[in-house]
Amino acid sequence: MSNLHKVLVIEDEQNICNFLRTVLETNDYQVLIANSGGNGKTMFLSHNPDLVILDLGLPDIDGTELIKVIRQESEVPIIVLSARSNEKDKVLSLDLGANDYVTKPFGTEELLARVRAAIRSNRFAGGVRPASQRFVLQDLVINYDARVITIEKKEIKLTQTEYNIVELLSVHAGRVLTYAEIVKKVWGYSDSGSIKKLQVNMANIRKKFGEKPGEYRYILNELGVGYRMNADTEDSTE
């Protein structure tokens, strides 16, 4: 039991807790449930989980506050449960350090894909480049030393900026990076046109990768929020 991944669920809705517990336990995760923010804080500190699933709408503490508290202590991946129409909450959570969000209502497949991706992404916690010097995602390979990207062994010619964006996303694979975060890290500054600049670059990257809307396999699109490098090779993207 002890070598299973430990998932802490902080959620006050009993039925959702039951659902999450069933889904996660039947997929070989060890599940801890906290029914309030205060409880969650304590359990986080005493159990040292591998992943936190956090509902933003808790009765006692604002979920975003809890993200701050957790981030002061550790780099554990956090998945936020949020409402679909609330991009502001999503962006805020991500900027505070959450790895990902799942919008309610969600299905089991979607949840499990995010959970796998989040736990995997923690290998590169803190955005440190992986020691392997290579990033592999399906048929896409990034050679960090040579700054070369290949798909199906064919080199993809990117500009410096485009490469930097892809590298940044790959280092944080599985994690949603907000537009603002990417702009800050790639250009080092931001102005009113910089998000558009990022979007234009992304469109070019996708064109070079040969990706069409509805079929993005490498860089996933979080509309109104940011981008995410796919990390889940078992993902049902085909």
């Binding site: 679909r84 046109g193 979007q199 469109a203 809307p213």
Partner: protein, 353 residues
């Protein structure tokens, strides 16, 4: 900011109108060589200003000004204030009464208009609510009934039966999710009359999200996409426009009988992005076409069967959303069969750069 703007607007309007009438008075006085017309002209000015400005204050200020000017410039003794003559005093009082009455009248009319708009909104909301509650009952019956059956008969149900019940729960909850998303879209527009917030949205990313969401719900349905090669960014509330496209696609899947091809086409025309969703199904008959975006037809005549529900609210939500964007939405039958839904959004130039 808004207050300041209204102050400026009302103030400028009052001054302009009043000056215009002042000039008219002078002209008339010189032309007819009598000042008997002047009070009437000023009364008209005061009346107009009271009618077309907000509240009482502008009307009263203007009427005081008129009384003073009338007294000073147009009545004996000329170019002197003199309130000792009873006629002057009485005309001043009459002027004030006119002002107050017409301001009161104007305020009343405005309130009535506001109430009319409010009532219209209320009716729309009530219609929506009725359609929704009516539509909610069916899936809830399935979900509640199926789960009760599973709970009570868990041991005696065959695997196939169980699967069927669960499938029913899943399908109807998906339908409910769709309904809730639509309702949320409407509230997102309606809350305290705030205008929607438009952010520049990349067309291909929008289409990607639409396709992903649609694929989750209808994995078997292929959609052809035809969008311009170049980078296009359109200011919109992406969550809402996504909802519009998904609703129209969903409508096609559910109602376009005999459809073999479903297509999204987007192109630019002048300063507008034109979105077209085409199918080659059975088309829409004329009677239905007229009310397709109001949801009215559905409520009145729709059979309570599983297939037809929700069409009304989906499309009326579309039209609400597009109108809130200042765009236009329409539908027509295609010559070659099937129909095409079309909506247009403005693509203002990016203010940055």
């Amino acid at each position: 900011m808004k207050k300041y703007w209204s102050f400026l607007k009302n103030g400028v309007f009052s001054i302009v109108v009043w000056l215009a009438f002042f000039v008219i008075s002078v002209v008339v006085e010189n032309w007819l060589e009598t000042n008997t017309m002047v009070p009437a002209i000023f009364a008209l000015a005061v009346f107009l200003i009271s009618l077309y400005t907000d509240g009482y204050i502008y009307g009263i200020l203007v009427s005081l000004l008129s009384v003073l000017v009338l007294n000073y410039a147009f009545t004996f003794p000329f170019l002197k204030f003199n309130f000792s003559i009873p006629e002057n005093l009485i005309s001043a009082i009459i002027m004030l009464i006119i002002t107050i009455l017409s301001s009161a009248l104007a305020t009343k009319i405005k309130n009535q208009e506001k109430m009319k708009a409010e009532t219209y909104k209320e009716t729309m909301r009530a219609n929506l609510l009725r359609a929704v509650s009516h539509d909610l009952r069916t899936p809830l019956t399935t979900i509640y009934g199926c789960s009760c059956a599973i709970e009570e008969k868990l041991d005696s149900l065959s695997k196939e039966q169980l699967q069927q019940l669960i499938q029913g729960i899943k399908e109807d909850s998906q339908w409910l999710i769709g309904m809730v998303e639509n309702l949320l879209s409407v509230t997102r527009i309606d809350t305290d009359g705030v205008k929607i917030v438009k952010t520049p949205t990349v067309l291909e990313e929008l289409i990607d999200i639409v396709l992903m969401r649609f694929k989750k719900r209808y994995p078997g349905q292929k959609i052809f996409v035809d969008i311009p090669e170049e980078f296009i960014s359109i200011p919109m509330d992406a969550v809402l426009i996504e909802q519009v496209i998904v609703n129209i696609l969903e409508n096609a899947v559910q109602h376009a009988t005999g459809m073999t091809k479903l297509e999204i086409k987007v192109f630019t025309r002048g300063n507008q992005a034109v979105f077209e969703i085409r199918d080659d199904g059975c088309g829409i008959d004329k009677e239905r076409m007229e009310n397709i975006f109001t949801g009215y037809f559905e409520m009145k005549e729709a059979p309570v069967d599983h297939q037809k529900r929700s069409m009304g609210i989906g499309l009326s939500v579309c039209s609400t959303i597009i109108r809130a964007h200042g765009g236009r939405i329409s539908v027509e039958n295609r010559k070659e069969g099937g129909c095409v839904f079309r909506f247009m959004l403005d693509m203002e130039e990016e203010e940055s750069e």
